[in-house]
Symmetry: C2
Subunit: 344 residues, 2 copies
Amino acid sequence: MKKNIRIKDIAKKAGVSVGTVDRVLHNRGEVSVVTKEKILSIVKEFDYRPNILARALTLKKVYTFAVLIPYADNNNPYWAYPLKGILHAEQNLKDYNIKIEKFFFNQNSKKEFRIQFENLIKLNPQGVLLAPVFSDEVQEFTSKLQGNDIPFVFINSDKTNSKRLCFIGQDGFQSGLVAGRLASINLNKNDTILVVNITGDYKSKEHFVNRNNGFSHYFKEKPYKIIQIELKDNFTHVFDSVIAANPSVRSIYVTSSKVYKVAEYLKENSLKHIQLIGYDLIEANVKYLNHEYIDFLISQNSVKQGSKGINYLFKAVVKNETIEKQDLMPIDIITKENVKYYGA
Amino acid sequence: MKKNIRIKDIAKKAGVSVGTVDRVLHNRGEVSVVTKEKILSIVKEFDYRPNILARALTLKKVYTFAVLIPYADNNNPYWAYPLKGILHAEQNLKDYNIKIEKFFFNQNSKKEFRIQFENLIKLNPQGVLLAPVFSDEVQEFTSKLQGNDIPFVFINSDKTNSKRLCFIGQDGFQSGLVAGRLASINLNKNDTILVVNITGDYKSKEHFVNRNNGFSHYFKEKPYKIIQIELKDNFTHVFDSVIAANPSVRSIYVTSSKVYKVAEYLKENSLKHIQLIGYDLIEANVKYLNHEYIDFLISQNSVKQGSKGINYLFKAVVKNETIEKQDLMPIDIITKENVKYYGA
DNA sequence: TATAATTTCGTGTGCGAACACGGCAATAAA
DNA sequence: TTTATTGCCGTGTTCGCACACGAAATTATA
C-alpha cells in the first residue's frame, strides 16, 4: 500500500511546476501539447486522485444540491422518511461545503411540481435529487437539467428513458414476489387473497403496477383465488361489500404504505383472522404491526434512499467518481419481532 | 445555518493568539488558568468543532487500528464477511491516513489467540476491533489494552463486564424470537420443532444460548413440541436417529451459520417437507436457500458489522466524538425472493 | 538592582490542492 | 531595432489546523 501521488510529485516527475500540472488537470489550457501529454501519462500511470480533503479545504466554493420531492403530511406521511435521510447526509457532508436546498410539492399537483422545478432551475445547483412523480413534467424538467449540464438522480421510482445519473429505489416486481411469499403463509387451498391498491389521485402508477405484477407472478400455478381492487383514500363503504362478498379472504396485500388504513378497518371490524401485508415503516404502520393487525411490512429503506441519493451526488459531482446507474435497495421483511431495529 | 467557528475566531474573541487556543484545546498546558477558562467558555458557547479535513491534512500522523478476529476457511466461512466490511471501511478512510493491521486466529485455538494478541499489543495501535471469543483471554487482553489507554470495540458477541468502547452485533435473544415466528409458519398443532446447535469445539456459547432462550420464549404457551439437540460438525449418524425417533418434526431451527450442513442432510434424505431456518448469508447457505432447502435465513449483517466497527473507532479516536455503547444490527429476514439484495 | 529561571503567549511553517498573478521567451507588429 | 502580443510556465497565497520555536512577561534568585 504505497502513498498516494500528489500534484507535487507529478510535477517533479514531469520536470515542470505544480502550476502547470494543475492547468492540465483542470483543462485550463496554456500548456504545450508535449508537456500536457507527458503529465497526463504520469497521471494515468500512477493513478493520481486528488486529495479531496485538501480540495474541500481550499475551495471556498460551496456545492449546492437541490432536492425535489413531495412533502409529507398526515395523509401522506411517506416522504418524511427520505427527507430524514437527506438531512442526515447533509449533516455528514457539512465539512465538505455541501448545501442542500429542498423543494417540496403536493404529490397530486402537477402545477406545484412545475412551480417548484422552475424555482429549482433558477438556483442553478450542481446536482439534483428528485422523485419523478409526473412523467411528462419530469421529462420536461430533466431535459432542462441536461441542457444546463446539471446531473440528476432519481429516487423511489424510475423513468428509464431519461439520462439520469442513477436510480435509487426498490425493484417493485421483486418486492411483489416477496409479498406473495408472505401472503401465502398459513393459507389453505382455495383461500382467497385480496390485493388492495390505494392510490388516491396518484398519477404515477408504474411503481404499483410492478408490485402487482410481481405478486401475480408469484401465484401462477398456485391454488389460491386472487381478487384485485382499486380504492381511493376513503374506502370503508366499498370495502364492506368486498369483504361481505368474499368471506374466504384470509390474506390482504396492500401495495402501498397506506396499509395502516386497511389495518384500521380490520381492527374496527374485528377481523384479526385476516393476514395483512403492506409497505413501509411509517409510524401508523408500525403501530398496527405491534398490535398484530399487520403481519408483515416490506420496507424499502426510505430513509436510506434519501441519504444515498445525496451521497451519490457527492461522489459523482465532488469526487468525480463514476457511480452505478442503479442501486436497488434491499427488500426488508419486517415483523413485530424485528421492527425495532429498523426504526432510525 | 451559520458558519462553523474556527480557532482563529475563538482567538479573536478571547483576545489571544491561535497558539494559545490550540494549547488549551489540546491540553498542552503553558496557559494561565484565567485565559484557559475564558477560551473554554467560548469553545462551549459557540460549540467549536475542529474541521477534520484540515486536521487530517495537517497531521502526518498515521492512525493505526488493529483487528483481531478468527480467520475464515472452508469449514468456517463466517468471518470472511466481517473482514470484507473492514476492508471496505479501510478503503473509505484512506484519505484520513488510517491504516488497519489485521491479526487472525483459529477460532478453536486459545493459543493462537494469545499469540496474536501479543503481536497486536507490540504494534501499539490507536484502537482495536476484536471478536471476544475466549472469555478469560479476552479479559486479560482488554486489561492490557486499558493499561495502555487503547480503546477497543467488540464485534459479533459481547462481554459486558469489560470497558469496551462499543459493541456491534445482534441481540441474540431477539433474533431467537424472530426465528420462532418463522419456524412456526405453516405448522399444525402438535407438530414438532427441532432446535439444532452445531457448536463444534466453540467455547464461547453465550451467543447461542441467547438465541435458544429467545426461541424458547417465543413458544411459551404455544402448542408445539420442541426438541433441542447439540451436535458436533460431523453429525449424520446422530441426526438419523433423531429424525427417526421424531417423525412429526416439521421445522428445524439451526442456531448458527452452519445450517447448510443440515440443509445438505435434508437434501440427501429427501426431506423437503421440513422447514429449515438458520443464520447468515454465507455462500453455502444462500445456495440451499435458492434451492428451497432452507426457507429463511436470519442475517446479522456481518459485513456491515465489520465496517461499522472500523467507523466507530474512527469516530471515537480521530474525530473525538462520543459513540453509543451498543449498536444492535437489524435482524434481517432473508428468503429466496429477497436474498439477492443482501449479497454485497 | 541585576540576572536567571519559569511561566505565558505569539509567530511561522507545512499539509495538498486551487487559482490569481506575474515573468520570461518567442514571435508579430511598429 | 523597439514595442506589443501571445504562448507557456513558475511563484505565492489561501483554506483550518497542529506544532515547533522563540519572544515577552513574570517571578525567583543572586
